[in-house]
Amino acid sequence: MDTSHQRALPTITVEPTSGFAAINLRELWHYRDLLFFLVWRDISVRYKQTVLGAVWVVLQPFLTMVIFTFIFGRLANMPSEGAPYPIFFFSALVPWQYFSSTLNNSANSLVNNANLISKVYFPRLLIPLSSLFPTLVDWAISFLVMLGLLFFYRFGLTWNALWLPAFLLLLMTTVLGVGLWFSALNIHYRDVRYVVPFITQFGMFVSPVVYPSSVLPERWRAVYAANPMVGVIEGFRWALLGKAALPGREIFISTAVALLLLLGGLFYFRRAERHFADIV
């Protein structure tokens, strides 16, 4: 080894840390290829040994839409802000399905990758982070179904649609924030495994998925928007259907809550991370 190489060697210090540790962005960047391969592993393994394969991605939301349209659109006569109920519902289902399946994956991500965590060092943050992306494929497919439905109902896209990437980002931020909390908590308390399905089922009814936010009394809307999925769904609906005015206040509150969740999640995760390998 030549001396210039010697000098270039990084020095690593391993010490007990306490309190909140900052996020090592340089290290995360170094491991970006691992993020890629973790995502790619999950995508390529996902539909192996299923007969219908990726058809499920289309079938699942489509059937949900048919059933929910029948129950809430026809039987319950839910208002849909002037749009046909199927596309009203589907415009919320597009972000909601991503939320529920991604949250489920990310909450269990650390536990499912226990063998990696207890055997090799890498930034643990990559694990819940990587769970954001495989389901993005499903999201994109159901988004295409959405476009098909819009076309079927002769509902043209407006310029509002340009805001979609921003709302997608808000959606991912929300999932990551909640997912960081749950994935880290799951290491200690496997109760999370039972809490998450409850949240994804029950949460659908405290978010404007089958009904519009406008059914709520005006004074409760701001509190309602503390559920970050309210802002996300209203945003998606506004961007896709373009009818009502932008629900700016709700989106602002939801964004603030999502960011707080993410920051808190990051801190909690970094704090809990040092014991992952001992407990998992």
Binding site: M1, T3, Q6, L9, P10, T11, I12, T13, V14, E15, P16, T17, H30, Y31, D33, L34, F36, F37, L38, R41, S44, V45, K48, Q49, N115, L116, I117, S118, K119, V120, Y121, F122, R274, H275, A277, D278
Partner: protein, 428 residues
Amino acid sequence: MSETAIIVENLGKRYRIGARQERHDSFAEAFTSALLSPFRRLRNLRQPVPRDETLWALRNVSFQVEPGEVLGIIGRNGAGKSTLLKLLSRITEPTEGRIKMRGRLGSLLEVGTGFHPELTGRENVYLNGTILGMRRDEIDRKFDQIISFSGIEKFLDTPVKRYSSGMYVRLAFAVAAHLEPEILVVDEVLAVGDAEFQRKCLGKMGEVAREGRTILFVSHSMPAIKSLCTRAILLDHGQLLMDDEVEKVVTTYLKSEDAVKGDGSIPENAARINNGQGWLRRVGLYDGAAQAISQIFLGQDFCVSLIYDIKDLIEEAAVEVGISTLDGLRVATVCSLDDCGAPLKLAPGVHELRVAIEVTMLPGEYTLDVFLHNLSTNTTVDWVDRTFQFTALNLSEVGEDHYHWGRVRGFVRPKSSWQAPIVCNSSK
């Protein structure tokens, strides 16, 4: 000279060991306990951890490793070796102390970490490589080398779940071996794979060391430690007992493994399997004149004396004495039942059993394993390995019998008689 590769200072790691678990004898008990457990868990959440529920897996460990050094880490199970490696590879954080390392550290704590059975060999090389800390272009560059080292070219695009375990390990090691870290941590990976592959791995590690990289090697195989390492550290109960040349450390370790004390007495707490009916108290070796010895001359007959303290009457007992090498390889066994010997009747009290053994041990170090069996109940009464260490010399007691070369392969010398050469065809 270049700077120190690893500096470990006062390293310590404390684990919380779970509170003692109650045992449930019936399904009903286990069921009620499971029902009540939420309350117990909630109560435990508020209480601080009692001190007896924590364990220092490692404490006050300090040492340094220079670049290019191959350091062996020796110790029995639970001595803290794995904890040390986990701390070095940053899988878990120390409770106290610090480690300073120069350069990238690669760990082979378990080969094939992160291999996914559904993915092909090719895909797993990339996945495993990045998990170990390689960049994608780095893997691209080394891909051909990795594949040819593993020797699985033909199955590159087969899912690894269809691989034999040997192929799996070969591929996994190949990836890890090409990581090229400045510091490599290896833990018992050589326990898997066939002999030829093991040789290949050892060769690769030697090569890595010659390139000036630092290797930390943990193994229970003393021959492997001796052949690879220059220096070794000995851990025991989380403490660093010794840090010296590999030969000295290995010898100390093997001696500490012996159950016996200097005078041949065996403490009750020696590593043994015992059912309480009787205890082996002392082992001795005697020559034909009943003199206590610790080395035997080439071809000398010897006698093993066993002092047993019998607690319960054993109607039918059998005693077995094994001669093993220090590495634990059994080379000869005698038993009181040999040649239709009658079972022994052992009344409570202290007894001495003597057995004369006629065998010529080849030069080397050996140890005696002693086993007392209750034939009536078919149970092991007392079983102690490594009770008494002795040396077989390369020199007969009288006369000139000895080997003219330093090392003799094998362990025992059967009796042989050689006839004078007979002329088969006389050349004219």
